[in-house]
Symmetry: C2
Subunit: 188 residues, 2 copies
DNA sequence: TCATATGTGTGACTCAGTCACATGTCGATC
DNA sequence: GATCGACATGTGACTGAGTCACACATATGA
């Protein structure tokens, strides 16, 4: 009993998971950067701006991408120079809103499409029931990452918030975070 | 018939896969870089040097990491300055071997351990049969990435070649690559 | 033998970010 | 209402990790 294939088994799966995560991320960064003609970070910013519901500010972008304030300023400078965003007055006298231009919106959609294409390509070889199974397993894999405070950027910085199903309660990240907050309500 | 949960279904799983790959890679880069006190690329280089069987050269490292020749020279400069590697004569009058020092070997092992810890942590919530299932599915997810020529670094640049089981025919990357080469033997 | 390919290395530069610091604004408290 | 600390943005100077263009030595093949 206990586990016949312990030890080496875990290592094999761990290694495979690491390798897959690496290719998927590599590919995604390459194609999203190409889709907007800027850096992967800029691509992530465009994607985030596309999916934000309320008027995003420079500071929100900073948090999502895990940058320093000045880093975010430089990033928005670049996006603005490319004609992708404009700065406007924020809700606050201190903050400024960052808004996608038409051109920026188009670029952001290209970014999202490019990402989706890579990911759909990866899933192409799976049958529907296999995809269902995978979905459940991926959800479980998330938990450990949500529990702990993250040092770098936001998990969902490239997410498609529609297909993510956050509002419908389908997003494991959102669900875990919610459960976590209700459990231990430490207001920072 | 056909597929009742088509369309949106694929998008959901695709999105989840992308998000998971992103966190896993983020975390891995963070901890491996911390483990050696240098950049994620340097950490990958140490890991690669640890697992190379034959005497690695600067050029091999360059290929694995997807750098330019001069980029690789700079990287090895940094590794040497940190006391992690030494340059020696290569098999060839042109090439030079890059060898881990004792200190470098220790650092490389820390890198490998740090990576393994992240990945094992992700898998911690899965039962043994769930891990088996995941393993099979991850293997299938790989195929599309191996078929196409990659622009950026090598898929396995952080792999633990022992637990990967390449020689025993357990590594899906190696297997796919092998099958691919026997099918279309274009010697470039 | 000579042209070409290959591996390594250098100088000048770029790009994306950092840090230290300045400025303007908000909220709370006296 | 004045003041003080926290906060959002922005700027100048700098760094780290890479690039490109080029040089040089060695290897390979016609």
């Amino acid at each position: 009993m206990t586990t016949p294939t312990r030890g080496a088994g875990v290592e094999r799966e761990a290694n495979l998971l690491g390798a897959l995560a690496l290719v998927v991320t590599d590919q995604t960064e390459t194609v999203t950067a190409a889709a907007c003609g800027l850096s992967p970070t800029a691509a992530a910013a465009l994607s985030a701006l596309l999916h934000f519901l309320d008027k995003p500010t420079l500071d929100m972008l900073r948090r999502v991408l895990g940058l320093t304030p000045s880093g975010a300023v430089r990033l928005v400078d670049r996006l603005a120079e490319a004609g992708y965003v404009t700065r406007g007055p924020g809700a606050d006298g201190r903050s400024r809103s960052v808004t996608l231009t038409q051109k920026g919106r188009r670029a952001a959609k290209r970014v999202a499409r490019a990402r989706a294409q890579v990911l759909r390509g990866a899933l192409a070889g799976l049958s529907v029931p296999e995809r269902e199974t995978l979905h459940a397993l991926l959800g479980k894999l998330f938990s450990p990452f949500i529990r702990q405070p993250r040092s770098t950027g936001w998990i969902c910085r490239l997410c498609d918030t529609v297909s993510c199903g956050r509002d419908a309660g389908h997003c494991p990240v959102a669900n875990e975070a919610l459960a976590w907050h209700t459990r231990a309500s430490t207001p920072d």
